[in-house]
Structure formats: structure tokens, C-alpha cells
């Protein structure tokens, strides 16, 4: 029962992280220091705190474990969602980058080469493996940071209400 609760919280947190990265307008949240992906870790901890109110605080190994698990789940869900978005809208991220480069007043020579490269047919496809590897690196880091912030916030909240946990 307890394990089910943990897995559910991790799954929901992973889903939140994935949605904020994969959906075209919602991913603007990640411009604020990956807040969208980090929010997945925060959601996981918040759900667990609601589920186990007797648990006053989370230890560092617990926060690392929860953050990493949320990130891994989120990475795979995000990969699937990004593929679905690609099927619907094509490689919108490359188009966005090309547009940003078009708006530059002055483009360095190296970026001119990149600009030409990005218009080739091979960059219009879905960079599946590269996206998955990137997700597997970035997601666990930022969901862990989100979980850490949430645990520290709960710790401060607990301290201010007079329930300071033992170190």
C-alpha cells in the first residue's frame, strides 16, 4: 500500500515534468530555470507529504531517490509525448531555432554553417535517441532540484510552526 503510494506520486510527478517540456506553449515555463521540469519533483514530494502527514521531513537520500526516480519516469514520458507532438506539428523546435537565427542582427560564421545544416532534410526528422539521452541526463537533475527545494520549504514551514524535526 505504501509502495503503491510512492509509485503513484513518482508517476504523477514525472507526468507533470514531461508535460511542461513536451507541449509547445507550456514548455515556456522551463525558460525560468527549468521550473516546469523541477515542478515534477515538487509535485512528487507534495503528494507524498499529503499521503503521509506523519512524516515530518524527508532525508537527503530519500530526496535524491525520489527526485531521480521522478526524473527517469518523466524522461521516458516526455520522449513519448515529444514524438506525438512531432507527428502532429513536425520538428517545431528546429523551426523555432531557425526563426531565432533569422532575427539575429549578426550571425557568427560558425552559426551560418549551423543555419545551413539545420535546413537539410535529416534535421527535419525526429532525433529520437538524442532526445532520450538528453532527457535522461537533464530530467533527473532538475526533478531532484525541485524535490530538494520542496523538502526545504516543508522543513522551514515545519520549523516556523514549531515542529522542528530532529537533524
Amino acid at each position: 500500500m505504501q509502495k503503491q503510494g510512492y509509485m503513484r506520486a513518482i508517476a504523477i510527478g514525472g507526468l507533470v515534468a514531461a508535460l511542461t517540456d513536451s507541449l509547445p506553449l507550456l514548455n515556456l515555463l522551463n525558460c525560468l530555470c527549468c521550473l516546469g521540469i523541477a515542478s515534477g519533483g515538487m509535485v512528487t514530494l507534495w503528494l507524498l507529504r499529503r499521503q503521509f502527514p506523519e512524516k515530518e521531513y524527508f532525508t537527503t537520500p530519500e530526496v535524491i531517490h525520489l527526485g531521480l526516480m521522478t526524473g527517469l519516469v518523466g524522461a521516458f514520458i516526455s520522449f513519448a509525448l515529444q514524438y506525438i507532438v512531432f507527428l502532429m506539428y513536425g520538428n517545431w523546435q528546429v523551426q523555432w531555432l531557425l526563426q531565432a537565427m533569422d532575427n539575429m542582427d549578426e550571425m557568427p560564421p560558425v552559426w551560418e554553417r549551423l543555419y545551413e545544416e539545420l535546413q537539410k532534410p535529416e534535421y527535419q526528422g525526429f532525433a529520437g535517441l538524442a532526445i532520450l539521452i538528453r532527457n535522461l541526463i537533464i530530467y533527473p537533475v532538475f526533478t531532484f532540484l525541485g524535490a530538494l527545494l520542496a523538502s526545504r520549504f516543508f522543513l522551514r514551514k515545519g520549523k516556523s510552526s514549531g515542529n522542528e524535526p530532529a537533524p
Partner: protein, 175 residues
């Protein structure tokens, strides 16, 4: 008896020392590595991209791709090294720099506690700066973005980070 008590008090002193628990050390090391890597990769990306070696250029492109989810990477909002934009925008660059320095400061001054009022004040300043830019009061002022990013990163680490105060008995022989 009085003299003996005074002598004991002079000879032995109980100090309240701030030391880190094992959990806190683990956390510090993990955060140190993450923030150091983020900062190094951000600064390394344009340097590698400017290299003459194709392999290093590809590595630089890989860093831009890796850090793509965490920043909009708009070229006109990034600092440049060798005329090439960095992997993160000005604000993000200074957020992670501020956070890294905040971690170093916290390790060095473990007793440091940031007041909530100060943290809220910085939050209002940063929020105001972002909103003023959104509403067109000014546009693309990198110094201000850098300052607000630096303060954000620094304050978040100093406000939420803490080392637990522990009492330790320490005998100091005093004259």
C-alpha cells in the same frame, strides 16, 4: 570552591559549533557537482564551437542541445565568447553562477541565516524586473538581467540551505 568553579569554567568551555551531518555533506557534494557542471558547460559551449576542430565543434553543439530544455537560448539575450552566444541566456548564466557562489558562501559561513524579509525583497525586485521588461518599460538590458539572475540564485541557496547547529563539548585550556 568559588575559585575552583571559576578555574573549571576557565579551563573547560562548551561551544556551540556548526558542523555538517553526513546527509548535509552528501547534499553539499551533489549540489556542488551539479552547479559546477552547469556553469562549466555553459562557458565551454562557445569555446568549443569556436574551435577549428570539427570534433570539438560537434561537442559544443552537443552542449547547446543538452541545455536546450533549461533555457530559451535566444542568441540576442546571451553573453558571447569569441562572438558566439553562450549556451544559457544572461539571466540563467548568472542564476547558476549565483547559486554556485551561494553554496560556497554557505559552506564557508555555516551559521549564515538569510532573513525571510530579505528573500522576499529580492523576489519582488526580480519579479518587478521581469514584469517591467515584459510590459516594454525597457528592452534587453543585460546588466540588469544579470544582476537579477545572480541575486535569485544566491538568495535561493542561502535561504533554503542550512547546516544544522550542533552543540559540541570542547575543552579549551585557558589561562
Amino acid at each position: 570552591m568559588g575559585d575552583e568553579g571559576q578555574s573549571i569554567r576557565k579551563k573547560a568551555r562548551v561551544q556551540k559549533r556548526i558542523t555538517a551531518s553526513r546527509d548535509e555533506w552528501l547534499l553539499f557534494k551533489v549540489l556542488f557537482v551539479i552547479l559546477l557542471l552547469l556553469n562549466v558547460l555553459n562557458w565551454l559551449a562557445p569555446v568549443l564551437s569556436a574551435s577549428r576542430s570539427l570534433l570539438l565543434q560537434e561537442a559544443g553543439a552537443g552542449i547547446y542541445f543538452l541545455l536546450d530544455p533549461i533555457c530559451h537560448q535566444l542568441p540576442d539575450r546571451c553573453l558571447r565568447i569569441e562572438h558566439i552566444p553562450m549556451a544559457l541566456c544572461v539571466r540563467c548564466t548568472f542564476i547558476y553562477l549565483g547559486a554556485f557562489l551561494g553554496l560556497i558562501v554557505l559552506f564557508w559561513q555555516k551559521h549564515l541565516r538569510l532573513k525571510t524579509a530579505l528573500a522576499v525583497g529580492v523576489g519582488i525586485f526580480v519579479g518587478g524586473e521581469i514584469l517591467l521588461e515584459k510590459f516594454g518599460m525597457y528592452s534587453n538590458w543585460p546588466i540588469l538581467r544579470g544582476v537579477s539572475g545572480f541575486l535569485s540564485g544566491l538568495v535561493v541557496v542561502l535561504y533554503f540551505g542550512r547546516f544544522t547547529a550542533r552543540k559540541s563539548n570542547e575543552k579549551n585550556n585557558m589561562r
